[in-house]
Protein backbone atom coordinates (compact mmCIF):
# COMPACT_ATOMS: atom_id res chain seq x y z
CA UNK A 1 0.00 0.00 0.00
CA UNK A 2 1.39 3.35 -0.86
CA UNK A 3 -0.32 6.08 1.02
CA UNK A 4 2.47 8.58 1.21
CA UNK A 5 5.76 9.58 -0.20
CA UNK A 6 8.35 7.15 1.12
CA UNK A 7 10.74 8.30 3.81
CA UNK A 8 13.75 7.97 1.60
CA UNK A 9 12.51 10.72 -0.69
CA UNK A 10 12.40 13.13 2.21
CA UNK A 11 15.79 12.05 3.34
CA UNK A 12 17.24 12.51 -0.11
CA UNK A 13 15.68 15.94 -0.34
CA UNK A 14 17.03 16.72 3.08
CA UNK A 15 20.48 15.57 2.06
CA UNK A 16 20.27 17.69 -1.09
CA UNK A 17 19.23 20.72 0.92
CA UNK A 18 22.03 20.11 3.36
CA UNK A 19 24.47 19.78 0.49
CA UNK A 20 23.20 23.01 -1.01
CA UNK A 21 23.69 24.71 2.32
CA UNK A 22 27.24 23.44 2.56
CA UNK A 23 27.93 24.44 -1.03
CA UNK A 24 26.43 27.85 -0.39
CA UNK A 25 28.65 28.31 2.63
CA UNK A 26 31.70 27.39 0.67
CA UNK A 27 30.96 29.15 -2.60
CA UNK A 28 29.06 32.32 -1.77
CA UNK A 29 30.92 35.50 -0.94
CA UNK A 30 28.39 37.67 0.73
CA UNK A 31 28.50 37.21 4.47
CA UNK A 32 24.73 37.35 4.71
CA UNK A 33 24.36 34.69 2.06
CA UNK A 34 26.90 32.51 3.78
CA UNK A 35 24.96 32.98 6.94
CA UNK A 36 21.74 32.05 5.21
CA UNK A 37 23.40 28.89 3.97
CA UNK A 38 23.73 27.81 7.57
CA UNK A 39 20.03 28.33 8.00
CA UNK A 40 19.50 26.19 4.94
CA UNK A 41 21.54 23.44 6.52
CA UNK A 42 19.49 23.66 9.66
CA UNK A 43 16.31 23.51 7.64
CA UNK A 44 17.54 20.36 5.99
CA UNK A 45 17.96 19.00 9.47
CA UNK A 46 14.44 20.06 10.30
CA UNK A 47 13.07 18.33 7.27
CA UNK A 48 14.81 15.13 8.14
CA UNK A 49 13.58 15.33 11.72
CA UNK A 50 10.03 15.93 10.70
CA UNK A 51 10.15 13.13 8.16
CA UNK A 52 11.46 10.69 10.70
CA UNK A 53 9.03 11.86 13.27
CA UNK A 54 6.15 11.42 10.89
CA UNK A 55 7.36 8.02 9.87
CA UNK A 56 7.75 6.91 13.47
CA UNK A 57 4.45 8.43 14.54
CA UNK A 58 6.19 10.33 17.30
CA UNK A 59 6.35 13.95 18.38
CA UNK A 60 9.97 14.01 19.57
CA UNK A 61 11.21 14.96 16.16
CA UNK A 62 8.73 17.77 15.85
CA UNK A 63 9.79 19.11 19.20
CA UNK A 64 13.38 18.94 18.13
CA UNK A 65 12.45 20.91 15.05
CA UNK A 66 10.93 23.62 17.17
CA UNK A 67 14.09 23.88 19.13
CA UNK A 68 16.21 23.98 16.02
CA UNK A 69 14.05 26.75 14.69
CA UNK A 70 14.39 28.77 17.86
CA UNK A 71 18.10 28.18 17.99
CA UNK A 72 18.38 29.23 14.37
CA UNK A 73 16.46 32.40 15.11
CA UNK A 74 18.66 33.21 18.07
CA UNK A 75 21.69 32.50 15.99
CA UNK A 76 20.34 34.74 13.28
CA UNK A 77 19.87 37.56 15.74
CA UNK A 78 23.32 37.21 17.20
CA UNK A 79 24.82 36.59 13.82
CA UNK A 80 23.27 39.61 12.18
CA UNK A 81 24.36 41.76 15.09
CA UNK A 82 27.92 40.53 14.72
CA UNK A 83 27.82 40.95 10.96
CA UNK A 84 26.54 44.49 11.45
CA UNK A 85 29.49 45.38 13.67
CA UNK A 86 31.81 43.89 11.09
CA UNK A 87 30.12 45.98 8.44
CA UNK A 88 30.36 49.10 10.57
CA UNK A 89 34.08 48.64 11.10
CA UNK A 90 34.99 47.57 7.60
CA UNK A 91 32.23 48.80 5.32
CA UNK A 92 32.20 45.53 3.44
CA UNK A 93 30.17 42.37 3.36
CA UNK A 94 32.64 40.56 1.15
CA UNK A 95 33.57 37.55 3.23
CA UNK A 96 37.09 37.25 1.90
CA UNK A 97 37.93 40.78 2.88
CA UNK A 98 37.46 39.85 6.52
CA UNK A 99 40.70 37.98 6.82
CA UNK A 100 43.06 39.97 8.98
CA UNK A 101 43.55 37.15 11.43
CA UNK A 102 45.55 34.49 9.73
CA UNK A 103 48.54 32.14 9.76
Amino acid sequence: MTTAVPLSWYLILSAILFGLGVAGFVFRRNIITVFMSIELMLNAVNLSFVAFSYQLRQTDGHIYTFFVMVVAAAEAAVGLAIILTVFKNRATLEIDEVSDLKN
Binding site: H62, M69, A73, A74
Partner: protein, 131 residues
Protein backbone atom coordinates in the same frame (compact mmCIF):
# COMPACT_ATOMS: atom_id res chain seq x y z
CA UNK B 1 -6.61 2.84 -5.06
CA UNK B 2 -3.69 4.28 -6.94
CA UNK B 3 -0.86 1.84 -7.30
CA UNK B 4 2.21 4.01 -7.66
CA UNK B 5 3.44 7.42 -6.64
CA UNK B 6 3.09 8.60 -10.19
CA UNK B 7 -0.58 7.81 -10.06
CA UNK B 8 -0.92 9.15 -6.56
CA UNK B 9 0.62 12.48 -7.41
CA UNK B 10 -0.72 12.72 -10.94
CA UNK B 11 -3.45 15.22 -9.92
CA UNK B 12 -0.88 17.42 -8.28
CA UNK B 13 1.29 17.26 -11.33
CA UNK B 14 -1.72 18.11 -13.48
CA UNK B 15 -2.57 21.05 -11.28
CA UNK B 16 0.93 22.43 -11.51
CA UNK B 17 0.82 22.02 -15.24
CA UNK B 18 -2.49 23.84 -15.56
CA UNK B 19 -1.35 26.62 -13.26
CA UNK B 20 1.77 27.15 -15.33
CA UNK B 21 -0.21 27.02 -18.55
CA UNK B 22 -2.69 29.60 -17.31
CA UNK B 23 -0.04 31.96 -16.02
CA UNK B 24 2.08 31.51 -19.16
CA UNK B 25 -0.91 31.96 -21.33
CA UNK B 26 -1.93 35.21 -19.72
CA UNK B 27 1.52 36.74 -19.86
CA UNK B 28 2.11 35.46 -23.37
CA UNK B 29 -1.31 36.64 -24.49
CA UNK B 30 -0.85 40.14 -23.22
CA UNK B 31 2.59 40.22 -24.74
CA UNK B 32 1.24 39.20 -28.10
CA UNK B 33 -1.96 41.20 -28.10
CA UNK B 34 -1.12 44.33 -26.17
CA UNK B 35 0.28 47.55 -27.60
CA UNK B 36 3.86 48.27 -26.65
CA UNK B 37 4.41 51.83 -25.55
CA UNK B 38 7.76 52.64 -24.03
CA UNK B 39 8.38 55.85 -22.17
CA UNK B 40 9.92 57.07 -18.92
CA UNK B 41 6.74 57.21 -17.00
CA UNK B 42 5.95 53.65 -17.84
CA UNK B 43 9.33 52.55 -16.52
CA UNK B 44 8.95 54.14 -13.11
CA UNK B 45 8.01 51.78 -10.31
CA UNK B 46 4.37 51.74 -9.48
CA UNK B 47 3.88 52.66 -5.84
CA UNK B 48 0.11 52.75 -5.48
CA UNK B 49 -0.09 56.02 -7.31
CA UNK B 50 2.38 57.88 -5.14
CA UNK B 51 5.42 59.32 -6.85
CA UNK B 52 8.44 57.28 -5.78
CA UNK B 53 11.18 59.22 -4.00
CA UNK B 54 14.85 58.44 -3.84
CA UNK B 55 16.70 55.42 -5.14
CA UNK B 56 15.38 51.93 -4.60
CA UNK B 57 18.90 50.85 -3.66
CA UNK B 58 19.29 53.30 -0.83
CA UNK B 59 20.51 51.99 2.46
CA UNK B 60 18.13 51.25 5.22
CA UNK B 61 18.83 52.48 8.69
CA UNK B 62 20.43 50.01 11.00
CA UNK B 63 17.26 50.34 13.01
CA UNK B 64 15.43 48.29 10.44
CA UNK B 65 17.79 45.40 10.89
CA UNK B 66 17.66 45.72 14.62
CA UNK B 67 13.91 45.63 14.70
CA UNK B 68 13.85 42.86 12.14
CA UNK B 69 16.16 40.79 14.30
CA UNK B 70 14.16 41.44 17.39
CA UNK B 71 10.99 40.61 15.54
CA UNK B 72 12.38 37.25 14.43
CA UNK B 73 13.38 36.46 17.97
CA UNK B 74 10.11 37.27 19.62
CA UNK B 75 8.12 35.89 16.76
CA UNK B 76 9.81 32.55 16.79
CA UNK B 77 9.29 32.11 20.51
CA UNK B 78 5.63 31.85 19.72
CA UNK B 79 6.33 28.49 18.15
CA UNK B 80 6.36 26.99 21.60
CA UNK B 81 2.81 28.06 22.13
CA UNK B 82 1.60 25.49 19.62
CA UNK B 83 2.64 22.31 21.37
CA UNK B 84 1.66 23.96 24.60
CA UNK B 85 -1.80 24.70 23.32
CA UNK B 86 -2.19 21.13 22.11
CA UNK B 87 -1.56 19.62 25.52
CA UNK B 88 -2.91 22.47 27.62
CA UNK B 89 -6.10 20.67 28.64
CA UNK B 90 -4.16 17.67 29.72
CA UNK B 91 -1.65 19.49 31.86
CA UNK B 92 -4.01 22.00 33.41
CA UNK B 93 -2.48 24.31 36.01
CA UNK B 94 1.03 23.04 35.43
CA UNK B 95 0.91 24.13 31.82
CA UNK B 96 -0.28 27.53 32.88
CA UNK B 97 2.54 27.99 35.35
CA UNK B 98 5.08 26.76 32.83
CA UNK B 99 3.93 29.13 30.17
CA UNK B 100 3.79 31.92 32.68
CA UNK B 101 7.45 31.41 33.51
CA UNK B 102 8.28 31.21 29.85
CA UNK B 103 6.50 34.45 29.10
CA UNK B 104 8.12 36.16 32.06
CA UNK B 105 11.53 35.17 30.75
CA UNK B 106 10.66 36.54 27.34
CA UNK B 107 9.37 39.71 28.91
CA UNK B 108 12.64 39.94 30.75
CA UNK B 109 14.37 40.04 27.41
CA UNK B 110 11.84 42.46 26.06
CA UNK B 111 12.31 44.75 29.01
CA UNK B 112 16.03 44.62 28.43
CA UNK B 113 15.90 45.69 24.80
CA UNK B 114 13.34 48.30 25.62
CA UNK B 115 15.52 49.85 28.31
CA UNK B 116 18.54 49.61 26.10
CA UNK B 117 16.73 51.80 23.64
CA UNK B 118 16.59 49.34 20.79
CA UNK B 119 12.98 50.24 20.18
CA UNK B 120 13.40 54.01 20.21
CA UNK B 121 13.05 55.28 16.69
CA UNK B 122 13.48 58.90 17.51
CA UNK B 123 16.66 58.87 19.56
CA UNK B 124 19.05 58.44 16.67
CA UNK B 125 21.72 60.55 18.28
CA UNK B 126 22.34 58.32 21.26
CA UNK B 127 26.03 57.58 21.50
CA UNK B 128 26.90 54.04 20.41
CA UNK B 129 28.19 53.15 23.88
CA UNK B 130 24.67 53.33 25.20
CA UNK B 131 23.23 51.20 22.43
Amino acid sequence: MPESYVELYFPVFLQVLIAMAVAGGMIGGSYLLGRKVKNRIKDTPYECGITPTGSARGRFSVKFYLVAMLFILFDIEAVFLYPWAVVYRELKLFAFVEMFIFIVLILCGFFYIWKKGALDWSQQERPPEER
